[in-house]
Structures are given as C-alpha cells and as structure tokens.
C-alpha cells in the first residue's frame, strides 16, 4: 500500500533528505554510508539527498545538532524526530522509520 502511494504521487526529487554524521573514515561510519546509499538507490531513486558531515572536521555541527554518537542518521525530510545511530546494519529499521515497505524482489 505504502509503496503504491509513493509511486502514485511522485515527490520532488529531494523529498528524502538525509544527514549522516560520520567520524572520519572509521569502519562503522563507512558501513553506514554504504547502507544508506544502497537503500536510497533501491527505494528512493531520484528523490533523495544525502549530506555527509564529518564530526572530526566540524565539531560545531555535532554540537548544534546534539550528535554524540557516530554514525548518526538524521532524517530532515520528511520531518522525522527519530535518530538512527550505529553502522545501519539492519536496513529494515530505516525502512520502518521511513514508513517504506520492502519491494517484492527483497522478499
């Protein structure tokens, strides 16, 4: 149902706006980036935007956004309060938060 809704009403290209806070190139941060890219390519092609912020280079960004753990995924749009921390080893959790169902070929 949810998937239908998405295809019925195409959103603006950057409807899904993610901000991922990473700590340099530590392994968890790298993994999170990879997973996020995969999800976006598969489920949100052409309608996502990903910002990567390295807290090691920009501590003020971490401070103003109250980011204490890395990696941390913040979903700016649609506005969702929930933050997801960790290497994003479970894509289902992100999909749940976004309210997206898995595509058929996944199942």
């Amino acid at each position: 149902m949810k998937k239908e809704r998405i295809s019925d009403k195409p959103r603006s290209p950057a409807h899904y706006h993610f901000r991922l806070f990473v700590a340099g190139d530590e392994i968890n941060s790298r993994k999170a980036q990879e997973t996020l890219h995969q999800i976006c390519t598969r489920y949100l092609p052409g309608q996502h935007k990903i910002e990567i912020i390295d807290v090691l280079k920009d501590y003020k960004a971490a401070l103003t956004n109250e980011i204490f753990f890395a990696p941390t995924l913040v979903i700016l749009s649609p506005p969702i309060q929930t933050k997801i921390v960790g290497s994003l080893n479970d894509p289902q959790k992100i999909l749940d938060v976004l309210g997206l169902a898995k595509t058929k070929e996944d199942e």
Partner: protein, 481 residues
C-alpha cells in the same frame, strides 16, 4: 607546551621522586583532605548514590575553577541544563554569566528520547565536541556527570571497554583535569564498568550519607590517590548555601594562641578568687545544677565586656534570645542595648535541628563574619541532642579548637545532675580543652538553700581553694565573704 610534556614524562616514568602536579579544587576543606587538590591533567572518579552530592561537587569544581582562571566544561548526562543552572543559582553561582564570558561551557549529553540503534557506534562526536570546545575556550577542567548514561546504547561489553579506553586515553592526552561521576549501585564492584574506572582513575573519592541517631551526615572518603598522600579518614561534609563545606581535622597539631591579658568576669569578688579574672583566649567552663546561675554568670560577663566595646557571640541551645535577655534583667543584667548596637549576637539554635557539621559550619561562619573576642556556648550539655555523645564531643572539640586558634575566649556552661563527678562537671571528655572550671551548687540547710561557688581548676594562675556562698539579687551575682 614543553613544560607540560616534561611533567607528563616524569610522572609516567615513575622514577621521578617529584611530587605530582596538583590543582586546587578551591572547594572548602577538600583541598586539605586531598593534600593540595586533584591530580592535574589526570582523571578523578567520584562515586556516590543518587543524592550524595556528586553533581554539586562537579559543578563547584568547574565554578571555582572558572573564577580562578581555569575555564571548564561541564558535561551532564542526566540533568537538563536549565535545572543545572537553577541549582547553581541556589548556591549563588551565576553560570550564565560565566558561560557568556567563555569561562564555562555547559553541555547536556542526555540521549534523545527517540533513538534507534542499528549496529555498532562510537562516542567520537562527543570527544570531537569537547576537544574542539576545550581548545576554543582554553579549558583546564572538565566534569562528566553520570557518564555511564552515555554507554547505555552500547550492549556489548567489548565495545564498552573499547570506547571507555578511547575516552580515557583522550582525556589523558587532553591536558584537562577531569572529574567523572558514577553511581555505585548500577555498577557494583566487580562489574566491568566500575573495575575499569577504578583502575584508570588516578584518584577515587567516595561520597555517602550515614544516619546516626536519626541525624543524617554526609561523608566523603578518598579511596585512592596515585602518587600522593591524602587524609584517610571519613570526613563529614555538608552542602551549604555556599556549596560543599568540610572542616577536616587533618592536621591536628595544636595551634592554640597563648592566653592573653586578664579580663574581668564582671564580678569583682569572683575575679579575686580567680587571681585576677579570666584570661583572654582561654576556655572557661561553668558547671552546675539547673537554676544555680550559670546563665546569669555568663550574661554578667557579656554585659561587662560589651560595655568595654568588645564583641560577643552567644550561642544559646536552651533559651530563645528574647527569653534569655528577659530572664537576666531580673538580676540587673541588661543585654538588649548591646544586641541592638551589634556588640552582642545571640544565636538561638535547636541542637537536634541539624547535624554536627551544619551547626559547626554555621557557627564558624558567624564567628568569621562577626569577629567576636568572646563566644558563649550555653549549654554544652544540650549538644548531645545533636546526635549523641560522640557527635557532641566532635562538635565541641572542633569548635573549641577553632576558637583557640583564633585567640577567642570561650565560656561554656554545663548542666550537671548532682553527681558531682569530675567527668560530668568537665563535660563530655573535653577537659583537655578547658582551662578554668567553676562549679556552682546548692546546699540545703534547715530553713534555707545556700548557693555555693568554687573554682575547681584554673590553668596559668593561682586561685582560691575556698567554697564560697553566693546570692542572686536584683542587682546581680553577689559572692559572700
């Protein structure tokens, strides 16, 4: 920088006999216990149950530092910043001003309510923030309050250990003097968390609260201090309106002032019995049964010295100031004008109202503010109501010691119950502090009761060995020939 490196090197090699570098906490009495302060640029752990005073100690550490040229960061994982600032205000600490001036940085490290964990994570952003902020404000101190909360998202012990290690390693290199707080209940001895902290910290301070005879007393105890000596007792402390206060008897060397000149008791015939009066800065004990005239004897002295322009603090544990002033007027002693003029301060206090530390600190503050030449404690027998004999002894020894160090005369009254035993007269084992003992008693005749006065002890002076009758008339205390 070169200097800092040198210090680190020598302390790490372990060969240098040089004492480790310390920074004062500037917390009242704590530096004395710590023999100078906390280990500089190292980590100190404060362990205590909720409500034991960990957060206050942490706040005071950064506050006092900020006011002494050492900017600080306070990272709280439990309390919202708003309530931290409000709590600080109750101690008169203006955090917002210090924050504006860049001398203090408060940060709330509470976990956001909506957070989902997926996979492994690290605390690097937190370290990045504090390290960036520390550089920016040239911080010297950091407090991490309830740091354990930050580790709640980590479920694997290996990960916790790795993160902790990284954190402590970062702290060690940061040049900051750090204070971390921990609750013992959540991490009992033997748990990974506690073991880790205990072994990594250079100094460990325990805080707790004990209930003794229904009076609660906060205590602190230094469990470990690498490379330094420290006071090894349990020290009572209070959280006063000015922050943490403790009055440790760490150096109990006697620093009493010698006796000063003679001062009149206000009763010439008693002065004669004493060989010329009391001595300034001595301790005089007036013992006797109820109604023998102890309070009147004190008040007569108070009136006399106040007339000479001197100042007296009268601590009344038995009567209210108004009742005291009123009752002695019947014997021709008028204290009210001196109270109004500010020469006399009568402090009425219920002994059982608070514990020993509160009483002691309140009185010490009063003495330091008022700077009296003489202090009256009426009566020391009531002090037992603070929390028993031991507490009373503790209170008196420390207060009298404080007065003697400052050359202040102390007059104590002690209510005896007619046994006339020397121990009871001198009161609670404090006889070593007492220089002069005057004993008042009754003798029942066939048709009358006679009041008697005698001097049992008078250090530094010859004195009368007689037992003299005395009367209390409407113009005062009269010793008969």
């Amino acid at each position: 920088m070169a200097k800092k490196k040198e210090v680190l090197k020598s302390s790490m090699s372990g060969k240098g006999r040089r004492a480790i570098k310390k920074i004062p906490t500037y917390i009242n009495g704590l530096d004395e216990i710590l023999n100078g302060g906390l280990p500089a640029e190292r980590t100190t752990l404060i362990v205590g149950e909720p409500g034991s005073g960990k957060t206050v100690m942490g706040m005071e550490f950064v506050y006092r530092g900020a006011n002494n040229g050492e900017p600080g960061i306070f990272l709280g994982f439990e309390e919202p910043l708003k309530s931290l600032r409000q709590n600080a205000f109750t101690f008169g600490w203006d955090f917002p001003s210090l924050e504006k001036e860049g001398r203090l940085f408060l940060m709330e490290g509470r976990l956001p309510p909506e957070i989902i964990v997926s996979g492994q994570l690290s605390l690097k952003p937190l370290l990045s923030i504090i390290s960036g902020k520390a550089k920016e404000m040239k911080a010297k101190r950091i407090v991490m309050d309830a740091l354990d909360v930050a580790f709640r998202l980590f479920d694997e012990p290996v990960q916790v250990r790795a993160e902790l290690h990284q954190l402590l390693e970062w702290l060690a290199k940061s040049g900051l003097t750090s204070l971390l707080t921990l609750k013992p209940r959540e991490y009992p001895p033997g748990s990974l968390f506690q073991d880790f902290f205990y072994s990594m910290a250079d100094c460990v301070i325990n805080l707790d609260t004990k209930i003794l005879n229904q009076v609660s007393t906060r205590r602190l105890w230094v469990a470990k201090y690498r490379g330094s000596s420290f006071g090894r007792n349990e020290y009572p402390f209070i959280i006063s309106e000015k922050g943490i206060r403790t009055i440790p008897i760490t150096c109990f060397e006697l620093r009493h002032k010698p006796f000063g000149q003679r001062i009149s008791s206000g009763i010439p015939s008693l002065d004669a019995m004493l060989g010329g009066g009391y001595f300034q800065s001595s301790c005089i004990l007036l013992a006797g049964e109820p109604g023998t005239g102890k309070t009147l004897l004190c008040s007569t002295f108070v009136q006399k010295v106040c007339q000479a322009g001197e100042k007296v603090l009268y601590v009344s544990f038995e009567e209210s100031p108004a009742a005291l002033i009123h009752n002695v007027t019947s014997a021709g002693v008028f204290l009210e004008p001196f109270e109004q003029a500010g020469n006399l301060k009568i402090m009425g206090a219920m002994p059982e109202a608070t514990g020993v530390e509160e009483h002691l600190i309140k009185l010490i503050d009063l003495v330091e503010e008022m700077k009296p030449q003489h202090v009256i404690i009426d009566a020391i027998s009531a002090c037992e109501r603070m929390a028993g004999k031991e507490a009373s002894f503790d209170f008196l020894m420390r207060f009298l010691n404080f007065l003697k160090e400052r050359g202040i005369t102390s007059i104590l009254t002690n209510q005896t119950t007619g046994t006339k035993s020397q121990i009871e007269i001198s009161g609670n084992g404090i006889s070593s502090m007492v220089d002069t003992v005057i004993f008042l008693s009754y003798i029942q005749g066939e048709k009358e009761i006679n009041r008697l006065i005698q001097i049992l002890k008078c250090r530094g002076s010859g004195h009368s060995n007689q037992i003299r009758k005395f009367m209390i008339k409407d113009d005062g205390f009269k010793i008969l020939d």
